[in-house]
Structure formats: structure tokens, C-alpha cells
């Protein structure tokens, strides 16, 4: 299990290659990448700055991955999240899960993202044509995370 918070961009192909290298038990890999969009709430976004809480961020991400490892029969999981200034089309976050079969990998990957959105201490600030603004939390993200509690 590995979590990383970094300014630098990441390469999904290289990360998957490293994660699966020489492991014949892996039969499925699910991955997710989140990107910066050029519009949000009707305004065009020029740049986005991501702030985080160093120390707690890594701890929170590790706790989320631990929950996924305990709940599903998966082999490994990787989370990489960027911080600093990003632009539309830039990659923000990557989650990769390996397992023997696809169902577990799909579910664990979605679970990790849903929990990351509501529990990991990152904050987005957008620079738009209307000025700067902090992105507000969405109720739909809370609903997405809460869904996993009902199903457990």
C-alpha cells in the first residue's frame, strides 16, 4: 500500500507497471484519474490551487486505503494526489487497485475516491474570470461516501 502527495505530475502507465511487476496473483486492475475541468459552477477556471494539511493528509489517505484493504479482497492500492497550482486538463488524483477479480477492484477504487473526497484534508481554490474563490464542499460527495455505510 502506498500513498503520495506531490506537486509533480504522475504517469498512470508507469505506476501500474511498477505495481503489477512480477505478481502473477493480479487478475484485475481498476484505476481512476481526476482532472481539472475548464469550467465550474458556470464560470471558466483559469487555474486551480490545491492546499493540504501535511502529515494529516498522508495519515487520512492511509486510513482510507486500510479500510478498503480490510473490506475487499484486494491485493494492493495506490493513491497519488497533487498539490500546488494546476491548470485545466492537468491530472489531480490517481487511484489504482489490484485484485484477483474485477468486482473487488472496481468497488474498492470507487470507495477510496468517495472517502478521499470527504475525509482527506485537501482544499481547492479556483482562479476564475470573476476572481478567486474557494471551492465549496458538495452534498453529493457526502451522499456518495455515505452510500458505502448503508451497503456494509
Amino acid at each position: 500500500m502506498s500513498v503520495r502527495v506531490q506537486q509533480a505530475d504522475f504517469d498512470l502507465g508507469a505506476e501500474i507497471a511498477a505495481l503489477r511487476a512480477g505478481n502473477p496473483k493480479i487478475g484485475a486492475i481498476a484505476s481512476f484519474i481526476g482532472l481539472v475541468r475548464d469550467t465550474n459552477d458556470g464560470d471558466s477556471v483559469a487555474t486551480m490551487t490545491l492546499e493540504h494539511y501535511p502529515g494529516m493528509t498522508e495519515k487520512a489517505l492511509e486510513a482510507i486505503v486500510d479500510k478498503a484493504l480490510a473490506r475487499w479482497d484486494i491485493l494492493d492500492a495506490l493513491v497519488v494526489h497533487r498539490v500546488g497550482e494546476l491548470r485545466p486538463t492537468d491530472q489531480i488524483v490517481m487511484v489504482v487497485v489490484t485484485s484477483a477479480h474485477r468486482g473487488e477492484a472496481f468497488a474498492a477504487c470507487e470507495f477510496i475516491m468517495d472517502y478521499l473526497k470527504t475525509e482527506a484534508p485537501f482544499w481547492k481554490k479556483e482562479q476564475t474570470g470573476q476572481g478567486e474563490r474557494w471551492v465549496g464542499a458538495r452534498a453529493s460527495d457526502d451522499d456518495a461516501a455515505a452510500r458505502w455505510k448503508q451497503e456494509s
Partner: protein, 85 residues
């Protein structure tokens, strides 16, 4: 006793500070009491930390509640709901 307090994102900007080491008077032993103590500073503080703000609090980097104890040497962070991913 002395604790470290941290503020992030919009809250850090509103208060004009990201981190402080502060000495607490006797009787301040929970998150709620610490929040009230900081609000009593006046200026931006009562607005920024008021009950109408949906703030999150972490003690020693774990999510906390109003009743969570605060002890000497703790790190207490106040921040808005998270928006990563």
C-alpha cells in the same frame, strides 16, 4: 498549558494566520472550549469560528468532535469541509 493551533484554506486567509503556539488558561480542555476561547479574541475571530460556520476540527491529525479533549502539546487544526479529489 501550551498547544499548537493550525488554520487552513479560507479560514487561514480570513484570520491572516496559519499556525500559532498559544498558552491556554486553566479550564480550556475541549475543542469546543478552545474554539470559544479563540472567538473571544474579537475582530474576525467570532465570525470566522462562529457556530454558523461548518468547520471541521482535527486533534493530533485525527478528525475530532466538539467534546474531544485538548491536552498540553496537542496540535489542533481548524478548517472548512474538504474539497480534494
Amino acid at each position: 498549558m501550551s498547544v499548537k493551533i493550525l488554520f487552513f484554506a479560507g479560514l487561514r486567509e480570513q484570520l491572516g494566520t496559519g499556525a500559532e503556539q498559544i498558552e491556554l488558561p486553566p479550564g480550556i480542555s475541549t475543542v469546543a472550549a478552545l474554539r470559544a476561547h479563540l472567538m473571544a479574541r474579537g475582530g474576525e475571530w467570532p465570525t470566522a469560528l462562529g457556530a454558523q460556520r461548518a468547520l471541521r476540527v482535527a486533534v493530533n491529525q485525527d478528525m475530532a468532535q466538539a467534546t474531544t479533549p485538548v491536552k498540553a502539546g496537542d496540535e489542533v487544526a481548524f478548517f472548512p469541509p474538504v474539497t480534494g479529489g
